[in-house]
């Protein structure tokens, strides 16, 4: 693996600074004003921002286009998410070359949710490569300057490539072996799925002590009780701690809108700042990936307080 650092994200991780990343979700639109505005809110608090690629298999504006526009208009570095669901290896390869040409420096290689989970379930699921194979392809593009068949790329891309990992996986062991495979394939960093329970996070970091690649724990500030309930009830494996759910539930009943918002913010700040501090103190986590879709206002406060 090349030791050269070509992104802000990677230089922070290499310097072993506790690193914050954020998340941007482009929607079903051609107008990226909102995404750019959100990126501007996060700038200065996160070193880079993921840009999602048709999350949950909903058809949205291209993550490549959005990644480029965000970098161009805000200067905030992006982590271009790329899934195997909608593209065969040819398309993945050429999108990656395009991304490099547009000065994208970080890629998160993912398998992607299944097509039937989204808003166009009739689509043909591609999955020509899986995430491990995609990671390896990118690694070779960068390190060897070649495509999957060993053909030379004139002016190869400079990417730092990361992978996803799920601390909530049950059983965990097949997921941990897959994590090892991703490292062998060439992943330089990992971002985890959302974790709310500190014990789940700690157990995961304990199980992955040998993993040398930096890992950022995924958190999701809860803008409302409804969102918390959604995670707790419908996202498999994700549990929101009882105490947190109860305080959010109480906040929900506050009539005054601004007071309610204040209460929600307070609860989130307290919970996630403690969470991050505890992770920082007790685990080898390299940072925290904050998924704050629609709730960016909380990010600066969390980051400042958790520093």
């Amino acid at each position: 693996m090349s030791e050269k650092v070509s992104s802000d994200l990677m230089s922070q991780l290499k310097a072993r600074n506790f690193t914050f990343t954020g998340e941007l979700e482009p929607e079903k639109t051609t107008d990226l004003t909102k995404v750019v505005e959100t990126a501007n809110k996060l700038k200065g608090y996160v070193v880079a921002c993921n840009v999602t690629d048709n999350p949950q298999s909903f058809g949205y504006v291209s993550s490549l286009a959005a990644s480029y526009i965000v970098q161009r208009d805000t200067g905030l570095e992006t982590i271009y998410q790329l899934t195997c669901r909608d593209r065969n290896r040819l398309a993945l390869f050429s999108d990656l070359l395009g991304a490099a040409a547009l000065a994208i420096r970080n890629v998160l290689a993912l398998t992607g949710d299944h097509t039937t989970l989204g808003d166009t379930p009739q689509a043909k699921p591609v999955f020509d490569l899986d995430s491990v194979q995609l990671l390896h392809m990118i690694r070779r593009m960068v390190d060897e300057g070649v495509d999957l068949n060993g053909k030379e790329i004139e002016s190869p891309p400079k990417f730092h490539v990361g992978g996803g990992v799920n601390p909530n996986a049950k059983p965990l062991e097949p997921e941990l072996i897959k994590l090892e495979k991703k490292i062998v394939a060439g992943a330089e960093f990992f971002q985890t799925q959302v974790v709310f329970e500190i014990e789940t996070a700690k157990r995961f970091f304990n199980e992955t002590k040998k993993c040398e690649a930096p890992m950022l724990i995924g958190i999701f500030p809860l803008k409302s009780y409804g969102i918390a309930e959604y995670f707790d009830k419908t996202v498999p494996g994700v549990k929101v701690p009882r105490d947190l759910l109860e305080s959010l539930s109480k906040a929900k009943n506050i009539q005054d809108k601004s007071k309610r918002r204040e209460k929600y913010n307070g609860i989130n700040l307290e919970y996630f700042v403690d969470f991050i501090k505890e992770i920082k103190k007790t685990t080898q986590a390299a940072g925290c990936h904050i998924m704050s879709v629609g709730y960016e206002e909380i990010v600066p406060n969390i980051v400042e307080a958790a520093k």
Binding site: H114, T116, Q133, K181
Partner: protein
């Protein structure tokens, strides 16, 4: 076995609309086991079509209609009946339908939907087990096929949608096949097979469709 399901009768009748005289061909192998094109179903279909005003020129359950030789053999004595028909109703898989078309030259109406290559647990319980992908990797996966049993055909382990050993597709009802594979390889003391990174598959041969195997043209293997 090739697993089939009957189309809706209305759909079949719609296709048969322009034709008056119909000859019915069933299948003595797969469709018989699936109870979609055996003796009983052929008889029943003949009665139904008669009720709809069709003239049934004849019926036959061919031992294996996808085998051109067997189809010829089993229809030899029925040439006149077939010849006098406006259309053939094929209660067979898609391979059977096409063999019938080739053999008779008649407009042939498919009565079944061909579902998959499956394992039969018991009558009425069929499970897809093979996609005929052309390059068997079952050794590497403990005899359990991720190409067909994982909705994403993952080759290197479960995706992030697995929870509690279940698959995200269909709402975590079915087993995640990668957890099944992992457990099987673990039991067999062969977990290294799982640890090994699997390269992308070579689709170059599969992509050239239709696939054909003709011994006379195979120089060497």
């Amino acid at each position: 076995m090739i697993i089939t399901e009957p189309k809706l009768l209305e759909e079949v009748l719609e296709m048969l609309k322009p034709f008056e005289k119909v000859f019915i061909v069933g299948c003595g192998t797969c469709s018989t086991v699936c109870q979609t094109g055996g003796e009983e179903q052929v008889k029943e279909m003949a009665l139904r079509l008669k009720k709809e005003g069709k003239e049934i020129t004849g019926t036959v359950v061919v031992e294996s209609p996808c085998d051109a030789r067997v189809l010829r053999r089993d229809t030899r004595k029925l040439k006149k009946e077939i010849e006098s028909s406006d259309a053939i109703l094929a209660m067979t898989c898609g391979a059977g339908v096409q063999d019938i078309v080739d053999h008779t030259g008649k407009m042939t109406v498919p009565c079944l939907d061909t579902k998959f290559l499956g394992q039969i647990e018991r009558i009425g319980e069929f499970y897809e087990r093979c996609r005929a992908c052309g390059e068997c990797i079952l050794f590497e996966t403990g005899g359990i096929c991720p190409i067909v049993r994982c909705p994403k055909s993952m080759l290197n382990g479960p995706c992030g949608g697995m929870y509690d050993g279940k698959c995200e597709v269909g709402g975590h009802q079915k087993d995640c096949v990668w957890v099944v594979i992992y457990n099987r390889l673990k039991d067999l003391g062969m977990l290294d097979l799982y640890r090994t990174m699997k390269s992308p598959r070579d689709n170059s041969r599969l992509s050239v469709q239709p696939r054909e195997i003709v011994w006379a043209t195979v120089v060497s293997r």
